[in-house]
């Protein structure tokens, strides 16, 4: 099986706190890889290192044969890595459909395109693509709503649409179902599973909800105090004594 993302020896220190301590990960292509761990284990810090929000003190993150460390966020995105944020980071003043058309345009046109005189209405392909993704996520009736006025769960789904519309090679999901109802969570699981399988998108998912993790993941890495303490198939993770120790707080 080919490796989509290879993380080697990543360290990150914030003052006196060693947030990431020699983290190594191998993410298989076309699979869903979950990263779990107690609060403060360094999961979001690790994702931030993948997308250029943070620069680790040492280590490499190889994607598609290229090191992502030191690259700018928009360059990493253009290389095929999209991120769905934990707290929804959307364009609040714009409509739902515009929020999804922006990443779709970025995917097609690259980091900059001076199409200042072309009417947005003429971008039918982009619009259709955005509508399709929103439809998959059950938001087809909210296209013209103002993004800021939506519920938290809807904002999470919008975030996901913004990631999916780019047809990324690697999709990073930071607690995608937090704040969603059970029904929406199950729908999201189905959508991610379906898209992951049909388009072969590699996904890394950070999640606290074990129902989501065990429904989706092909492989699970457990992070505790900045270190990967276990990496295995889902069925083997539950019985791992190290993992139980970390979650029960007896790690010291």
């Amino acid at each position: 099986m080919t490796v989509a993302l290879e993380v080697k020896g990543v360290n990150k220190r914030f003052g006196g706190l060693q947030a990431l301590n020699d983290v190594n990960l191998l993410v298989d292509e076309g699979r869903i890889h979950a990263i779990i761990g107690p609060n403060g284990a360094g999961k979001s810090t690790l994702l931030n290192c993948f997308v250029g929000r943070l620069n680790p003190d040492s280590g490499t993150v190889i994607f598609d044969g290229k090191n992502l460390i030191g690259r700018l966020p928009h360059q990493i995105n253009q290389a095929g890595v999209s991120r769905v944020f934990q707290t929804p980071e959307i364009f609040g003043e714009l409509s739902v459909i515009e929020n999804v058309m922006i990443p779709a345009l970025a995917h097609r046109d690259g980091i900059f395109e001076l199409n200042a005189l072309k009417p947005l209405r003429r971008e039918k392909d982009i619009r259709d693509k955005a509508v399709d993704v929103l439809d998959d996520l059950g938001m087809a009736d909210k296209l013209d709503m103002n993004a800021a006025s939506m519920s938290r769960g809807d904002k999470r789904r919008l975030e996901m649409a913004m990631g999916l519309v780019q047809e990324p090679k690697l999709l990073l999901l930071d607690e995608p179902t937090a704040g969603m109802s059970r029904a929406d969570t199950n729908n999201t699981i189905d959508v991610l599973k379906h898209i992951g399988e049909s388009r072969g998108i590699t996904m890394i998912i950070i999640e606290h909800d074990m129902h989501v993790v065990f429904s989706l993941a092909n492989k699970i890495s457990v992070l505790a105090q900045g270190t990967v303490i276990a990496e295995d198939a889902p069925e083997n993770i539950k019985g791992n004594p190290k993992v139980q120790e970390a979650y029960l707080g007896g790690a010291h």
Binding site: V51, R53, L72, P73, H74, N77, Q78, S82, R83, F85, E89, I90, F91, G92, E93, L94, E98, M101, I102, P103, L105, A106, H107, D109, G110, I111, F112, E113, L114, N115, A116, L117, K118, P119, L120, R121, E123, M162, Q166
Partner: protein, 387 residues
Amino acid sequence: MLGLSRNDFLMLLFVLVLVAAAPIILNPFPEGSNFAQFNAGYPDLMQRFVIFGIFAIGFNILFGLTGYLSFGHAAFLGAGSYAGVWMLKLLTINVIPAIIISTVVAGIFSLFIGFISLRRSGIYFSILTLAFAQMSFALAASVLTPITGGETGLQTALNDPRVLDGGATGGNIPAPSLFGLEMGHSWKVAVGDWIWTFNVGYYLCAFVLLIVFYIAIRIFRSPFGMMLKAIKSNSQRLSYTGISPRPYTLAAFVISGMYAGLAGGLMVAMDPLAGPERMQWTASGEVVLMSILGGVGTLVGPVLGAGIIKYFENIFSKINDGLLHQWFSFMPDGIENVIVGIIHPFVGKGWHLSLGLMFMLVVIFLPGGLVGGINGLFRRLFRRRSQ
């Protein structure tokens, strides 16, 4: 139509009718009446309405869409003005090259200033643009005197080369013209007690306004315009979406700089004189006020704001005590004096006070500016009717 949606086309048509009929609309009071003072339909002021409207439309493309508040846009207006006068001096008294070159020069100038200033955002960006504009102002008034004419300013002279026109011919300094049609030329039409002035220069400016207003609509409704709005909303997020915000903000900065340069070029086409005070920070601040007053991020707002500020500056400032006494002379003496005493600080030299109060009211009660307020009113009326 013209690549616009129905509503946008109607808006363009509305502005077209408004500027075409401005000499009539702005002169609602018959000549010699008590209120003739409030007539604004004379060429000089109408030209200023339209030129500052262009300046504000351009400024709004930067400030309204991206949220980057430039405090130095007058520098581009000034640079455009100087470039324009030089074209009138060196090339030809025809205004077309002057207007085009002013736009181009301001565009190059804004590319340079924008490239440096846009390394920062928020207040730091504003301070950088302010610093650049004040430097330009100081340079224009001192060391660059050979190019700018120093504090006295730059103007056309009889012995200018005017290569395309064949140089000096004696007689008077030629007035700027459009293929022989002088900018200052006016036709006066008297209908009853009303006198309407149709001025060549005004209609040239109005024509240019319509073109650049149309371009502004297209920019607002384009994918590019949507990216600019996304920068204002969440520039960080945009970069995680694969868009580099820098070239977008720089493009918006240069476009708005070119609008400013165009306004400067039109100013010297109307009156071939450019001084350094055109670059001063007060001039930069004025266009900020125009945008906020009319409605930041709206299309018509900046034009409306420019019109109101120029109206106050030129009309309210001319109302003196003598005039006030004349208006209220029908009242008993004591009351008349009290009323005139109350109104006095708000008009004449105190016109800034009325403008300031109006500005405060708009900012507090109508955060979307006057156009935002009008839109809200219509929406409320419409909703009530549809219920």
